[in-house]
């Protein structure tokens, strides 16, 4: 961790845990108790999740109290921005987006794995090196490096996993 989260962030996560715990308790309470099977009442399937839900909601409440005592909610926590924060958010969203599109959108949906992998690695490297390459005026070289890495990764992964270790690829 670079920095400790603010009291407001703790407050929001506390509210989430309280809702989450409550939802688990509700789900556990309304779960089938299998009375028609004449099971021992101490083995009902909802017992343990219900207890866990209560514990999670209780700890969420403790976190909420702690966050409020620490001054949450503070408008400053929401409005104040550390320099570079926006760049970090954009980088995370781009990385997560590329990974999700590759793994959830393309892998296992008909296209050959090596092709999808080569495309993903190329796109990832090119996108993240784009600002530096543009500043250095080496965009074409950057694209070539990205393509080379993409092709090499696809070939190596297919060879090692599929051909040598006989692992089925998606």
């Amino acid at each position: 961790m670079d920095e400790r989260p603010s009291a407001t962030a703790d407050l929001l996560s506390a509210v989430f845990w309280m809702f989450f715990g409550g939802a688990i308790v509700y789900g556990a309470w309304t779960m089938d108790r299998l009375e028609y099977m004449n099971i021992n009442p101490y083995t009902v399937p909802g017992l343990v999740p219900g207890i866990l839900g209560v514990c999670i909601a209780f700890m969420g409440a403790l976190l909420l109290i702690r966050a409020v005592r620490a001054g949450a909610p503070k408008l400053g926590d929401i409005v104040a921005e550390r320099p570079g924060r926006r760049v970090e958010i954009v980088r995370v969203l781009v990385a997560a987006g590329l990974c999700l599109v590759y793994a959830a959108g393309f892998v296992g949906h008909g296209l050959p794995f090596w092709l999808v992998t080569a495309g993903f690695v190329t796109a990832f490297i090119f996108v993240f090196q784009f600002p530096a390459r543009r500043a250095d005026d080496t965009l074409l070289r950057g694209l070539f490096v990205a393509l080379l890495c993409g092709a090499a990764t696809a070939a190596a992964v297919t060879l090692v996993f599929q051909e040598i270790f006989l692992v089925r690829l998606p």
């Binding site: 961790m1 989260p5 962030a9 996560s13 845990w17 989450f20 688990i24 789900g27 779960m31 089938d32 299998l34 099977m37 099971i39 021992n40 101490y42 083995t43 399937p45 017992l47 343990v48 999740p49 207890i51 866990l52 839900g53 514990c55 999670i56 700890m59 969420g60 403790l62 976190l63 570079g84 760049v87 970090e88 980088r91 995370v92 990385a95 997560a96 990974c99 999700l100 590759y102 793994a103 959830a104 892998v107 296992g108 992998t117 993903f120 690695v121 990832f124 490297i125 993240f128 090196q129 890495c149 990764t153 992964v157 090692v160 996993f161 270790f165 692992v167 089925r168 690829l169 998606p170």
Partner: protein, 508 residues
């Protein structure tokens, strides 16, 4: 004792063939590279290698995984020393003095100290692995439903307490993990819980895709978040470990080895706590404590001995209780089960030779890290020069394959993605991952044994608190929770002071 030595000698003899030694060499080297690369943790390395070893014989597969585990924890010190970025969370303490030494032009010396500490730590832990596993296994044979229930609670509470810097968040993460383990068919009536009619979810959340997500994908996002990477130090002096370090700092080595092993045995605590605890203990009693954080040989030695001693330590509860001592040990446990080895209290009855096989594997891995630590430092450093923009997409491709390959279900890839995103958000909000993972591992144990215990006692809660082992566990759990409250700490301090004064009055 003699029987153990005989089994250990037989294990060593069985492994002395060229193919096994080749696997030791390759797996340790791969572990070292994985550990050295920031973004690839030991957990991730062991999970990926589990995929690659699916078609191997169980003994060979577990040998490869153990060598990777030991190699990765050792390899993490490379980037800690040269980049000031721990290669694995276990090496965070090594950054303090390791990088300080490197900045003074002593990077080679720092790597030599790291090699000495890692080798000595693994050897100390290995001795305890051989000695304690049979004892703990024998004790675990006395465990019933009540004790196993408390063992699960103990793991999550203690792990939440010791990992991270906010116990409340650690416990929340641990209980969330316990809940996740209840998703899918329950183990007693095969009733589908929280599956919402989804057939894949009814099968439950598989451990390896969840771990690959929480430690692999989440790490990719964490590394890519920072816009600027850190420059590495490339020039360094001799990397050969010095015998003098062992002779001068033998007390530090033994103390750190013991602390590391003990931290490893505690469920879910892991190498990072082993390393920090050893470092803190060394600093507290050192004659040169002013040097700590500024390039102290003793500090680096303590940190590296502690984290590597934790590796065999974390395998002790895996073998004796089927409960992991750390996150990589959780993957190792899952891999053992995949390969048909059933760890747990009965292992010393059914397969005592296996425990000594693991000890022998640990010895081979130690020889491997010593070899690479002396002869292959400079070529390995080249790995650190590869930009993270190139490494991270490759890591993610490996995450995708690692999650898919074991059961060949696309659902496991989605599980990895979901846990990666959850893990990333949790890290940003300062929730530790170790109790979360341990919760997923221990959830089934807790669920089955609470209900079995209640059936055995006909709903009476007394046996949960009055059986001797249960009572000790409850006392430790309550103590570790209460020590987070200032009023409880103050009450304990004043109680101890009164007790001491009373003893003094009686002249004791």
């Amino acid at each position: 004792m003699l029987e153990g030595l005989a089994l250990f000698s037989r294990s060593i003899a069985n492994m002395m063939d060229p193919l096994t030694l080749l696997y030791v060499g390759m797996a340790t080297l791969l572990g070292l590279v994985i550990g050295a690369l920031p973004g690839l943790t030991a957990t991730m390395g062991v999970a990926l290698l589990t995929t690659l070893t699916l078609k191997m014989s169980p003994d060979m597969a577990i040998l490869v995984l153990i060598c990777t585990y030991v190699g990765a924890i050792y390899g993490g010190s490379r980037s800690a020393i040269l980049l000031n970025i721990p290669g694995t969370p276990a090496n965070a303490a090594a950054c303090l003095d390791g990088h300080a030494l490197a900045r003074q032009g002593l990077a080679g010396r720092a790597m030599g100290i790291s090699t000495t500490g890692s080798v000595m730590g693994t050897l100390i832990g290995m001795v305890f692995l051989a000695m304690f596993t049979p004892l703990l296994g024998e004790m675990a044979l006395k465990f019933g439903a009540y004790e196993f229930f408390w063992l699960a609670v103990f793991g999550v509470v203690v792990s939440g307490n010791l990992t991270g810097n906010d116990p409340l968040k650690g416990w929340l993460a641990g209980f969330a993990g316990l809940f996740i383990a209840t998703i899918g068919q329950d183990a007693i009536h095969a009733y589908e819980r929280f599956s919402f009619g989804n057939r894949d979810l009814a099968g439950g959340i598989q451990l390896i895709p969840a771990l690959v997500g929480a430690f692999g994908f989440a790490e990719v996002l964490t590394v890519m978040k920072d816009a600027v990477g850190r420059p590495a130090i490339h020039s360094f002096d001799s990397v050969v470990p010095r015998l003098r370090d062992v002779l001068v700092y033998w007390r530090t080595i033994i103390r750190s080895g013991l602390i590391g092993t003990f931290m490893g045995i505690i469920p879910g605590v892991g190498e990072d706590v082993g390393s920090w605890s050893s470092y803190a203990a060394a600093r507290a009693v050192s004659k040169e404590r002013d040097k700590f954080g500024k390039g102290s040989v003793e500090g680096l030695l303590a940190a590296e001995t502690g984290d590597n001693a934790c590796v065999p330590g974390a395998i002790i509860p895996v073998l004796a209780l089927a409960v992991p001592g750390s996150a990589p040990a959780a993957v190792l446990l899952a891999a053992m089960i995949i390969h048909g080895v059933q760890p747990g209290p009965l292992i010393m009855v059914q397969n005592p030779g296996f425990v000594y096989d693991v000890v022998a594997m640990m010895l081979f891995a130690t020889i491997g890290i010593l070899f690479y630590g002396i002869f292959l430092v400079r070529p390995l450093i080249k790995v650190l020069q590869v930009p993270r923009d190139i490494i991270m997409p490759i890591v993610f491709v490996l995450c995708t394959i690692g999650s898919f390959a074991i059961a060949q279900r696309l659902f496991d890839i989605w599980t990895m993605l979901a846990f990666g995103l959850i893990g990333f958000v949790m890290r940003q909000l300062n929730y530790p991952m170790a109790p979360f993972v341990l919760g997923i591992v221990l959830g089934d144990l807790l669920d089955k044994n609470l209900r079995r215990g209640l059936v055995l006692s006909d709903g009476d809660l007394t046996p949960f608190f009055t059986r001797p082992i249960s009572a000790v566990m409850v006392a430790i759990i309550v103590f570790s929770i209460m020590m987070n409250f200032a009023s409880a700490r103050a009450a304990l301090r004043s109680g101890l002071a009164r007790f001491g004064a009373a003893l003094g009055r009686r002249g004791i």
